[in-house]
């Protein structure tokens, strides 16, 4: 391919060319603002969308003429990310500063009132705080149970034994099931009249066992169901680390007669630490968002309401969209702080070693 064609002079701002993205942005912005001011929302929305498309097209043509193929290849992914993720995120951030309910046609700017209401209102703030502490409790309990179980399972499956492959598939099954199926399954599992736990305990004590009659029982039931489902995920990650440890290190250790505990700390652990941290991060974020199992098992009863379920209720069921958005951003803030704290600790640890 010859390179002579593309040596055109860089187009100035005013030339009308398909690759003049600067002009496209200025023109697009101008038209969009005019359209928003002059036309009804239903029409101006499409005009703005058209302008965005034109600007995007200008970028694409420009990139193509400059042979910037890497950017072109990544463009669809970035476009999807923007449309499906970044745009809604910014939109909901905007909404959180308005008084808006999705089933009412009015909207009014209220600044930070939604946030301050959530944090200071004498009816809403205690509820928010109770739900946050519940969420923290669930996060700590489910994640620690999952990490421990997953780790022990991985240690087990790192060894060779008969039927290992089939057992492994069996152990991984819960992770592949739909949460709804798991929820329904466990709600029968725990049911005092129909459930197996109650039946077994009744054979001993003669009394039906009502697991969900207390908060402790309800929390235990939910944590167990969640751990049953997600421990295999931790196991899978840790197992990947365990099998990646070169066997010659173990052989050398055996020659030096190193004890099994020391062998674990100095050889195995450094290899799986990164993956353990990854599992911890994933599971913590997921646990923080837990709502599905709770909706299915207790419907938030017995003081098991979590913050995510609370958001779903406010935003989707009670249609208090902007209040829900504000709450989501408070939640996002907490998650970002926690994640960064975690990454900071993880990084410092790895640099220290």
């Amino acid at each position: 391919m010859t390179t002579t064609v593309i040596q055109s002079t860089p187009s100035s701002l005013t030339t009308l060319a398909p690759d003049n993205w600067k002009l496209a942005i200025i023109g697009g912005l101008g038209v969009s603002i005019l359209a928003c001011l002059a036309l009804p929302a239903t029409i101006s929305f499409w005009i703005v969308a058209l302008m965005v498309a034109i600007v995007a097209a200008a970028f694409v043509v420009n990139a193509y003429r400059r042979h910037y193929y890497g950017g072109l290849l990544a463009a669809p992914a970035i476009a999807v990310l923007f449309v499906m993720n970044i745009f809604p995120l910014l939109w909901s951030l905007g909404l959180s500063f308005f008084a808006y309910q999705s089933n009412q046609q009015t909207i009014r700017f209220v600044g930070l009132a939604n946030y301050s209401k959530l944090l200071t209102d004498d009816l809403k703030a205690p509820e928010l705080w109770a739900n946050l502490t519940n969420t923290a409790m669930f996060t700590v309990l489910t994640v620690s149970v999952q990490m421990l179980t997953g780790f022990l399972l991985a240690v087990l499956f790192a060894k060779q034994f008969p039927l290992r492959r089939y057992l492994l598939i069996l152990v991984l099954t819960p992770m592949m099931l739909s949460v709804v199926a798991v929820g329904v399954f466990f709600s029968y599992y725990y049911d005092p009249t129909f459930g197996i736990i109650s039946q077994v305990i009744k054979a001993w004590t003669g009394e039906q066992f009502i697991l969900f009659s207390s908060k402790t029982g309800a929390v235990a039931g939910i944590v167990f169901a969640d751990a049953w489902m997600w421990s295999p995920f931790v196991m899978l990650l840790v197992l990947a680390g365990l099998v990646s440890v070169p066997t010659y290190l173990y052989e050398a250790a055996a020659i030096d007669r190193v004890g099994s505990w020391r062998r674990f700390w100095t050889i195995t652990f450094p290899y799986i630490r990164g993956l353990l941290m990854l599992a911890l991060l994933f599971r913590t974020i997921e646990a923080f968002k837990m709502a599905d199992l709770i909706i299915l098992l207790t419907k938030g009863g017995n003081d098991t309401m979590t913050i995510s379920y609370h958001v779903i209720r406010i935003a989707n069921e009670q249609n208090k969209t902007s209040e829900g958005a504000a709450l989501s951003y408070l939640l996002l803030f907490v998650v970002i702080v926690l994640t960064n704290l975690y990454l900071y600790i993880a990084n410092r640890r790895s640099q220290g070693n």
Partner: protein, 477 residues
């Protein structure tokens, strides 16, 4: 040159777009009309759809199809709410729980139907023939004003489901008489006389352990006296609490008295606290799942069908499954009576009860053609013969001419108890804040039902919340 090609392609795009819109418009005015409808998935709507497909011939000569989304009950509100508020304008008609009217009317989704009723004498006759309590509960917003939004689809009422083999057993009859000096009811008419005292006696009397004698043979599993809804989901405890409060002479916050009627003082009145305590006192005679706060209408029905409960109070809408031997162990041993009530000082039982059931509504974005076909369908649906046939297949009708027909009582075993309770029905709020009010009090009642909080604190919390919410909304001065 470049400019020209650009213009050309722009023009081409424009003409293509206009072609599409015109095409769409033509399609809408053609002979084929599709009515998109959202309904809960259960027998009353399944029967309606089957009857429509088989029998409905539109008068207009158009080809009308009813495209029905059957949505499971637990998701029904969330799904319909999401569809309406997202603005996708998918449904032309929807079955709506009566309490939703305010929220969706204010949102501009449900169409006022007064003009359609006035323009059509046949429809007007049908609506005038409705039982007034049902019409107020299902059709009006603001509650009990002549502003109509819904056509009654399925009028649901609580009835008692009881086990004939157990209640009519001679041994049990004798023991009950000896213990309480009362006759253990055995026929439907005797069931009608159950007040909450007798209900409590029945509950206590039929608590049996595995191996205890039950109706002449050892019970194969633990057996329980009574059941009714006391669950955390949707409105599954509010329904019971409201009935108890109304029967005791108390009241929930009454929107028809706005803006002077307060929540505080009314919702947590001494009478209401006593009524809630009264309701809570029956939980010990229920299957233990009640103590977990998940005893909803489906759970109590399931337990009853599995033969674990002597007496269950539930909607007639769930009745079909208990009649079917495939889904019910007790299909051949059923008696139905009116739902229990509170015995008044005058010796009459007060059965004021929270109404169930649903109207169906039209949405505001329907074209004239769609509205015309929808009204045609509604007219056909509310005509006497069709309502009679619907009732014979397991539906119910709120039209006086239909339910007072002597044949009606024999169509379903619970119909006798059903029609006679119509006068006692009452609905909760229709205001847009309905779901907010409901979820908060469901949370609070759950704390009382699971034994975390006493009745007084519970109702105080509910009253405080409602007073503030309704004041902020301008519904209380």
């Amino acid at each position: 040159m470049k400019y020209k090609t650009r213009l050309k392609s722009f023009a081409a795009a424009l003409s293509f777009a206009s072609l599409l819109t015109i095409g769409g418009a033509i399609k809408a005015s053609a002979e084929d009309v599709v009515l998109h409808m959202a309904v809960p998935d259960w027998p009353p709507t399944r029967i309606m759809k089957a009857m429509f497909d088989k029998e409905y011939k539109p008068e207009s000569g158009n080809k009308v199809t009813l495209d029905v989304d059957f949505i499971p009950w637990p998701d029904f509100y969330t799904r319909v709410n999401a569809s309406l508020t997202s603005g996708e304008k998918k449904y032309n008609m929807a079955v709506s729980d009566s309490q939703w009217l305010g929220a969706f009317v204010e949102g501009g989704y449900f169409r006022k139907i007064n003009d359609l009723i006035d323009a059509d004498p046949a429809l007007k006759t049908a609506m005038d023939g409705m039982h007034p309590k049902i019409l107020n509960a299902y059709s009006t917003y603001p509650n009990s004003t002549p502003n109509y939004y819904g056509f009654p689809q399925f009028p649901d009422i609580l009835v008692s489901y009881a086990r004939k083999d157990i209640f009519c057993n001679d041994e049990e009859q004798k023991n009950f008489k000896a213990k309480y000096n009362k006759k253990l009811p055995c026929t439907g008419e005797e069931m009608d006389s159950i007040d909450w005292d007798l209900f409590g006696n029945i509950g206590e009397f039929f608590m049996r352990k595995k191996g205890d004698m039950l109706a002449g043979q050892p019970a194969d599993d633990d057996f329980y006296g009574v059941a009714f809804q006391v669950g955390k989901g949707y409105d599954f405890s509010s329904t019971s609490v409201h009935s108890f409060v109304w029967q005791a002479g108390g009241d929930i916050w009454d929107e028809t008295k706005a803006p002077d009627g307060h929540a505080e003082g009314q919702v947590n009145s001494a009478v209401a606290v006593k009524a809630l305590d009264h309701m809570l006192s029956f939980i010990k005679y229920m299957p233990p799942v009640a103590k977990t706060g998940t005893m909803d209408i489906f759970k109590s029905d399931e337990l009853f069908r599995a033969g674990k409960v002597a007496l269950n109070v539930d909607w007639v809408g769930l009745g079909e499954a208990s009649l079917d031997p495939k889904t019910s162990k007790v299909a051949d041993k059923l008696i139905f009576g009116k739902a229990p009530g509170t015995m008044g000082a005058d010796g009459k039982i007060n059965r004021t009860s929270q109404i169930g059931g649903q109207p169906f509504v039209l949405t505001t974005w329907n074209t004239d053609v769609i509205n015309k076909e929808a009204v045609g369908f509604v007219k056909w649906w509310l005509s006497k013969d069709v309502q009679m046939e619907y009732a014979s297949k397991g539906g119910q009708s709120a039209i006086k001419e239909v339910y007072s027909d002597p044949k009606y009582v024999s169509l379903r075993p619970w119909n006798r108890a059903w029609a006679s309770q119509l006068d006692d029905q009452k609905d909760m709020w229709h205001v847009p804040q309905f779901f907010d009010l409901l979820t908060q009090q469901q949370d609070q009642y759950d704390l009382a039902i699971t034994g975390k909080q006493d009745a007084k604190t519970t109702l105080d919390n509910v009253a405080k919340y409602q007073e503030k919410l309704l004041k902020d909304a301008g519904l209380i001065k």
